[in-house]
């Protein structure tokens, strides 16, 4: 019971770090600027983008444009597409320093004096997920405002679109966050964790590509990568998307189990 309580206490602290501390606010402000750029240059002109789909179809792929066009509110169709490909990159960046710099600073030692390593590791993961939940909700709110400004009757449809995207993006981001939690245990800084993640990604990708050329069954190994379901998911615009939830759920569970094992073995 105390472990569960401490897990939520740690998660709440991470949320506070993101939303109240100077460091957290600077990161959010930087992301806000990037999002503002995306909002004004890509999401706001979304209806026009869908109408002129043929001309940019060559850039994004006509199938993708068609799937965006199926959305009740075009702005959310574009948000969905961008969210699936941009947010995981932001996640790798943002979730890289879950434990790395605290370990170097010795703050992890202080924390482990007062709580278990499990609650610390899981609390940091949950905290990071909570921060992303808030950030994604804010981006969806901004898209909703943009859509409502174009046509106020779209608000009802926008809310259901927003809920759909929020739930699905959280599922997509969970394994990325869990993987970065594991990598962060080996790194001395967030930057080093990102470097390790890049190396791991490239080595595994080439390894699987090489294996697949010899053994076609090795293609299945691609499912170990977070986001392996995204190419399928992007075509969904209704709750049938939850049919793809098994892969990220298993990935998250495996990464968290591995992380907990390492967390208990690692010297602080």
């Amino acid at each position: 019971m105390q472990t569960l309580r401490n897990t939520f206490l740690i998660a709440a602290t991470e949320l506070t770090r993101a939303l109240i501390t100077r460091r957290g606010l600077v990161s959010l402000f930087a992301f806000g600027l990037i999002w503002l750029l995306i909002l004004t240059t890509i999401i706001r002109p979304a209806p026009m983008l869908v109408q002129n789909g043929a001309s940019i179809g060559s850039m994004l792929g006509s199938e993708t444009i068609l799937s965006i066009a199926r959305w009740q509110v075009a702005e959310f169709g574009v948000h969905w597409f961008i969210g699936l490909y941009v947010f995981p990159i932001c996640c790798i960046f943002y979730a890289a320093d879950q434990t790395a710099s605290d370990k170097v600073r010795g703050t992890l030692k202080l924390l482990t004096l007062h709580t278990s390593r499990s609650s610390l590791f899981l609390g940091r993961f949950l905290g990071m997920m909570a921060v992303q939940a808030v950030v994604i909700a804010l981006t969806l709110l901004s898209t909703l405002v943009v859509a409502a400004m174009r046509d106020p009757t779209l608000i009802t449809g926008s809310v259901s679109n927003a809920v759909f995207i929020w739930v699905n993006l959280m599922i997509v981001l969970a394994p990325y966050t869990a993987l970065m939690a594991v990598i962060s245990l080996f790194a001395k800084s967030g930057m080093q964790a990102m470097t390790y993640a890049s190396i791991l990604w490239i080595v595994l990708l080439f390894g699987i590509y090489w294996l697949s050329s010899r053994f076609p069954e090795a293609q299945l190994l691609k499912s170990i990568f977070p986001g392996s379901q995204v190419s399928t998911l992007v075509k969904h615009h209704d709750w049938s998307s939850l049919g793809t939830v098994l892969t990220p759920a298993i990935q998250t569970l495996v990464f968290l189990t591995l992380g907990l094992f390492i967390m208990h073995k690692v010297d602080l």
Binding site: T16, D102, L110, H114, K265
Partner: protein, 298 residues
Amino acid sequence: MELIKCEKLSKRYSKLRALDNVDLSIDSGKPIALVGPNGAGKTTLMSLIGGFIRPSTGSVTVCGAPAGHSSIKSKLSVLPQDAQFDPNFSIGSQLTLYANLRGVKNADHEVTRALELVQLQDRFKSKSTELSHGMGKRLLIAQTLLGNPEIILLDEPTAGIDPPNAKLIRDLIAAESSNTTFVVSSHNLDELEKVCDTVIHLADGKLVSQGSIADEESEQGFLTLQADFDAGQTIESVAGLIRLGQNQHNEFIIEFDAINHPQFHIAMLQKLADNNIRYKRLINGRTLEEKMYSQGKL
């Protein structure tokens, strides 16, 4: 009551054996000094007891449970040598978090109490980066006091800090030692002698000795006298003297027959007075430094 038990405890860092087959038992009671030169294994031993690192072989138990186990979080606390508070949060909010994590009831009150004990009560809203080195050490000690643990390990609590801060920490250990068993590591043997009754001596990762600081004073008496150089001749003339030595601090180390001449120190002081020789300081016994390094061991 046995608080800490180490059995055949070893820790290796690749080829370096930082701690080698240490058997050790620490009971509750007065403060215990952990001494030894650099690289002796003091920090490694504290880290193993604190559960920061895992033994290569052997075992450590704290209050009967393996080091690092959740059940001993409320019983043990540690001042790690190299730890810092998170610079993004205020001191008060972090201490409150720690108290809540420990399951302390009325965490706010407990944090105020801990900060008052280290005289940092007016720094609740400060960030750790705004504190001096001495204040930082006191803050780290404050987090060890949360929830009144049964045992507190302090790794170099006074390293690099000024005398007023060092005194404050010594006084705090003395004041709290009736509730808590302290294990204090330091290179400052004078300081340890002031607060500790027992000493654990490590060297090259091995346990050299463990025992009372005053253990060997029963048959031969020892005095340490800081006085002018010419006091030596006078001391040599006092009946009961076995051996007279002198260290680099201008201190005479006097060994005497304590059984047949129990009043040796009075006779010696009388002779010094008769010869108009002034002395600065007289210690009953040898200093810890003298015991450890002049004859190799305690």
